[in-house]
Symmetry: D2
Subunit: 139 residues, 4 copies
């Protein structure tokens, strides 16, 4: 239930201060969380076809920014699901360069199913055991 | 020391679930914080030329996501500086549609000056009184 | 069939050269094309419910970049549909600041309907007269 | 003078149609062009310190979009400098998945040096032979 995503900091990820524009960290956190799901065989299609679910939307996101990153830096996003509740779970993210910690994030997410009447409407469900099991066992 | 940024949720801001891809909220928070600075006459040029400062990088960012937003939604980011410490300050952000709260964020930022030897090096300074005064008095 | 989208160039739109990171121009072109559709009453929901269509994906996009734009600039994206073919149409975009031209783009798009067997499959259709009529008459 | 950039299409790169939001292709083109520069030892620091140059801003960009890409796709951006003029050069980009062509782009760029009086002012220079040589010989 841990994954590592390698990322190159690109020119377009940085801002006039030459450091990473901070919303990109959350973009990488999201990508890394999906990597956990993919490693567990849980693609959007599988979520939909096998479980009748839409996705795992964000409930709360946070990051502490410790050191600046620059264009050309090679980093790793190390992600781990840490906290299972009935309807939510937490994903911890560490951003590391050469082993050192540059940022530390946490996402809280839920799992949602479509509601009946309105295609734009969905609701959080009790996290299915099978999804939890797959995410815990995958590596 | 409060500002309101009007934003239209665009097609490209949303994801396959048709809702806003969450890092965009932080993009809007950043824009809204800069609006506070601009309203106080504190552009990047003024920070540099009048104060010898580089910018106001992020130290910590957080958001709670309450209701989903969709392409075509007209929203407001209402932002307010709330918590002055010696070297950091907090900016609270509310994302509202038709008056209702859709997300609630908080950024902690510092103010940095360049360090001598390395152009990539900078350090947080005690927030200058004049900058604090301008941000408090502006509206 | 012409629309004007006002945009503020934000800190996060710019790169270490302090000028706009160029893919953002295409982001604005896309937003401005959707504005043309919205002004004509053609939201994603209307396209789907009234016409059985999915959207108007890009076929070809181009931009010439004439002058650099910086954080804090207020610009306008002036967009116009210029060239109707059976299955495609062109949208011309001018990026102006204080009336002056900063960039000039052109998108070629088609209109697509879902194909039967595969939800990921869709095909370009002959552009319905009613859609063309609405886009031409709206302003 | 050819480089290949591997990219995973992430959730956040796609839009409500589930396909890649097209400005991201240009983001990848930009990253791939910089890869060519890095492979030739031409980082932003080298450009500045050894050549007195600021960067290689875009003059014109274009892409043809052939087939849609989806979340989870693994693609390659194959890039090649093709057309040297006195002050500009072209970079051709092919986006391939499993060998097949999904998009085809072309960027025209120049090389710029700072102008004297205004830090926001810069001008295109005759491309230095040494830069050209390095880009041609690198692989």
């Amino acid at each position: 239930m841990k994954s590592t995503l390698s990322v190159s900091v690109e020119f377009g990820d940085t801002d006039p201060a030459a450091t990473v524009f901070y919303p990109n960290f959350f973009r990488w956190f999201d990508a890394s969380t999906w990597r956990l799901f993919f490693n567990a065989g849980l693609t959007l299609d599988v979520l939909k076809d096998d479980f009748g679910l839409i996705g795992a939307p964000i409930v709360d996101a946070r990051s502490k920014f410790i050191k600046p990153l620059f264009f050309g830096d090679s980093i790793e996003i190390v992600s781990l699901i840490t906290n299972w509740k009935r309807k939510t779970f937490d994903v911890m993210h560490e951003v590391r360069k050469d082993g050192e910690l540059y940022a530390e994030g946490r996402e809280t997410r839920c799992i949602v199913a479509p509601s009946r009447d309105d295609p734009k409407d969905f609701h959080a469900v009790t996290i299915p055991d099978e999804i939890k099991r797959r995410l815990i066992e995958s590596r």
